[in-house]
Symmetry: D2
Subunit: 353 residues, 4 copies
């Protein structure tokens, strides 16, 4: 019953095989190898963006921070949902990479930035003088940290608010595959066609070992990317191993297949939870994450039964009043089994009486 985080899941076997195959003999370093060329071409294909600049890195935090730096000067402000990973869970990586830009949290229900709140926040900041940081970038997570999904029109709406005020647009796509699988939208439709300038395209949470891509659709933004990546220590010397993962990811649509599987398991779990009284679903379940609240006693039972998942926020305690509800996050990964979901529901149902 492993719902702890998609980061705890293994990599897909085809990815490990691709790594092994890439390990044959010598290859140029630092991205000058043929696998890297192929992977970049593949991404341009998938996103229908023949001019995109691409940089592979090993972590989503690096991808987000590099993206922020491409869009946001040191005296800039980047707007993100108040629950966004880029805001609270990267130990200030965006601030580090941008040289001290401000990351401004914007409210919105269920993980989706509220367009009016965004417009108001940006406008309030645009004093027109040098006393204030300059609104420079919007970061939209898709699928969101609340497990919901922006459809292309949602992205376009937020992007329009940003672009009308001179901001660039970033998409944190750590779980982009899940968002595309859920919405059925095409990658181009969900990103640059909807106004996204820079994308952090995630793979690690969805079956890769460690590989993400910074995809820059707006050529004017791309120039500094090689220097920023090198300087941050994120240019792999044996770069073929990043590329090999990405090629396996995109090959035959594996990425969407894995995301669909994870989404399906989250949906199965959500449906089961919805039928249990005593359980409150906190957000719509549109991708691979389920947020629910139920009594503390039930959490203890699940723990005793070996279920792994995070209380959400994690600062909640298992000590205390048995009936008090604690909220939690259950994440389905590409290899979550139906049996795990059903067992979880069974233990929980019993615990709830």
């Amino acid at each position: 019953m492993n719902f702890a985080s998609d980061n705890t899941s293994p990599a897909h076997p085809r990815v490990m095989e691709a790594l092994a195959r890439a390990n044959e003999g010598y290859a140029p370093s630092y991205g000058e190898d043929t696998l890297t060329r192929a992977a970049e071409a593949r991404i341009r294909d998938v996103f229908e963006a023949p001019e995109a600049t691409i940089a592979f890195v090993a972590t989503g935090t690096a991808a987000n921070a590099l993206s922020a730096a491409l869009l946001c000067p040191p005296w800039g402000a980047l707007y993100a949902h108040e629950g966004a990973h880029i805001f609270y869970d990267e130990c200030g990586a965006p601030e580090f990479y941008t040289g001290g830009a401000k990351v401004v949290p914007v409210p919105g229900a269920h993980g989706r930035i509220d367009a009016d709140a965004l417009a108001a926040a940006i406008t309030a900041q645009m004093t027109g003088d040098a006393h204030s940081v300059v609104p420079s970038a919007l970061s939209i997570t898709n699928a969101t940290e609340a497990g919901t999904v922006h459809r292309p029109e949602d992205v376009a709406r937020l992007a329009a608010v940003a672009r009308a005020r001179g901001l660039g647009v970033h998409m944190d796509g750590a779980r982009l595959a899940n968002a595309l699988a859920a919405s059925g939208a095409a990658p181009a439709e969900m990103t640059w066609k909807a106004g996204v300038d820079v994308l952090s395209f995630g793979g690690t949470k969805n079956g890769l070992m460690a590989a993400e891509a910074v995809v820059v659709f707006d050529g004017a933004r791309a120039e500094s990317l090689p220097f920023r990546r090198m300087r941050a220590g994120h240019l792999w010397s044996k770069h073929r191993f990043l590329a090999a993962q990405m090629l396996a990811y995109l090959d035959g649509g594996l990425w969407l297949e894995l995301a669909r599987a994870a989404n399906a398991m989250a949906a199965r779990l959500a449906q089961g939870l919805a039928r249990l009284s005593g359980v409150e679903l906190l957000h719509p379940v549109e991708a691979n994450e389920v947020f629910a609240a139920f009594p503390r006693a039930a959490h203890r039972k699940l723990r005793e039964a070996g279920a792994a998942y995070a209380l959400w926020p994690e600062t909640q305690s298992l000590e205390g009043v048995a009936e008090a509800p604690l909220s939690a996050r259950m994440v389905a990964s590409w290899c979550t089994q139906e049996e795990e979901v059903d067992r979880f529901l069974e233990v929980l149902a019993n615990a709830l009486g």
Copy 2:
């Protein structure tokens, strides 16, 4: 005839196997898994440093930059050999991570910092007022970028110069295995016992896919490491895959075995070059790199024959006077074959007439 860089070599088969084995099922993320615990323990064993703090990262540049940040405040100065990777080949990564510290180049023959020049450089900087950056750290590369090796007493001598003036000591051990294999010194002897506070322990150049360790011997320096690593985007979520590489590296002394093999091939090449007139060895060959100069025409012949290696500096041109000597760097990796070395020597000998 692949002597381009140890970074172009594949990973050792046992390393890929270890990655595959690590890919079984779920494991806690962000370094909370058992493989990580085991790898850290193994490193503490190998270095006889039971209190060392360790952080695994994917690149040597990240390891060096994080190390620099542990030793050097923003208003500090870090001293390194003028040919050091940390000085010229990391696109200012140390400057980025430290917040703008100055990296000061120090001369020395054959890649080894001259102790007197170091003392003079530090002393000249120690004005005692806030107008000057504060000498804060010394970085010694071992094996050096010139292919030479510091023995423990060399390290101790340089470290003493630094410590007497209040500086911390870093060792860039991207090729530490080669230095230990060459010198026969014990890891502890070569590092903390000789005065090293922080070590960048390299694996990528010596048979790993992408894995290095920041090993902090001086506990007082370690506190900020987790935050700096996270903030730089260098904390892998599926951390077990970094640990698995390190465990395979240290298992059964594989690391030293691979280094010995590379060193042996460099020695073989050097011996052959030494017998050729028209070839000048530029530095003693003590580890796995060979620096030599020979006529341009011979370089052309080697290229035609398919030899891969870098002119050194790389800005030299193959166009021009045939007899003019160009200097070059030939690097032996863990899988360099005798046949490659012999073929290289054969082609070169023919070219030289």
Copy 3:
């Protein structure tokens, strides 16, 4: 009728005389002169802090940013009131000087941080792992940006919340004189005795030309101050001219006399406004700033009559519905005259009908 900002006021004549007197002959540079020694001693006296470390700078933004850097590492978080100058009006100076720390806004009525909201904000951030920035500092403005005053017990209460959680405490005292004049508290009582570690002691808004002091009460925090100041370009070579201003400021209690005068004029204005129907005072008037709302038509009349003051927020427009209320800020300076206050009230009363 000049209520635009205390920054628009001239310097007090005694300050200009002090500058002229300081201009006699040669004096050591960079703070090694006797006036600087005397000014530092004077501040230690005034604050009853014989061990305090002091650095004079020309602007409040520099004083605040340097203070933040003394208390907050790059991966830290600094908590300030959501209306604080350090949060929104310094173009990210704290982020610049700290190396990218996060400035977290905390709510509270009338410019005073709510202690419970502060505790909750800090606690929520203290995840205990490296994914989150580390709560490091609290910044309390006194007198606040809303014109209210923290008494020593208010400061102590907030400081206790911060210190209990390991944070250092900064006081933005751009208008400290006004807060002390209003409360009658002694400088030591209001600062270090109430838990403040570092103080930005302001003079520019209260009769100086350009002079502020960073006063570090906690010696453990002071070491890097000289380097940070020099590196930021804030160490004056002809330092005597900063010191001369500070000496004139503190001489014979001029600083408190000027603050009392400004406070009295603000009180006079507030009393007059309170008697006018159609005027709403937005915050208690405890120092030298008055925040009030009244109809747009009245603002137009005041402008026509030559009154200078800022709409607050400044993004409000004088175009629009005549009866709609606009909020404004009126600041009394050390040289505001009773006639100015009375004239303002007269014009406003007429405008309101």
Copy 4:
């Protein structure tokens, strides 16, 4: 006999008078006042640059650091003479403001960068890949830290080397007045017409209290200047007092008059020194600084007689062999008197026997 540093001199009386006159009544803050407008216009006039962007700051270090940031990205390199203030005497201010750029020292006799060494240094750095920092800026000090002067054709020659390789050009004009007075060149001729993009125009060393100007001739470079200045805490609220100093400086050519006076006293001193055997002039004396070496015993005598000047380097000691020569720097300021020079020469002549 005060030759310690031009920073130890007082401000010119007309400057203090201007400050007093500027202190009349209220004026808009943050540079929105009429004096600031006038001073900016005056500078554009003087430099024949009607489109120049100007920012006044209080220190030369701030002016230099802001200039560096306008020309040099974080991954850039700035080339300066190895004895330049920007390289060794600003505690890494350029590194701070640029976000970690590298300041590369270039050799050259008598404080003037050697054009061929500059070309070689830049070319060596231009590897064309992201491993190396990108040569971005050249900084020429005029008058140099060795007391010599670049004529416009010297500036143009160095600027050409830089511009041909894509670098921007900065001039550190802390003593520009002295260079112009010495060369007779027009300000425009010495700066933008010779290829300078950004100038740090100094006043503090030459009769002002604390005022410098960043003058940006290349409009494409100017956009970020207001944000960078604000963020660094260098925007004065009572900005009129910076402007007043600048207006007094330029009024009636006072700036050149003061520089000529200082240069003349340095020349007088140099001529006297040249006639003394046992004294070696170390650099041509072209502006207001004199560098000479003479026996330790003579230094002791001068100190006993009350002469103030710096040993150069300052790390030399007055303890030791009496006959051993120590080098020193004597700086003439705008108010250095003939009597001081003659007395210095007299004491020295006696000491030398």
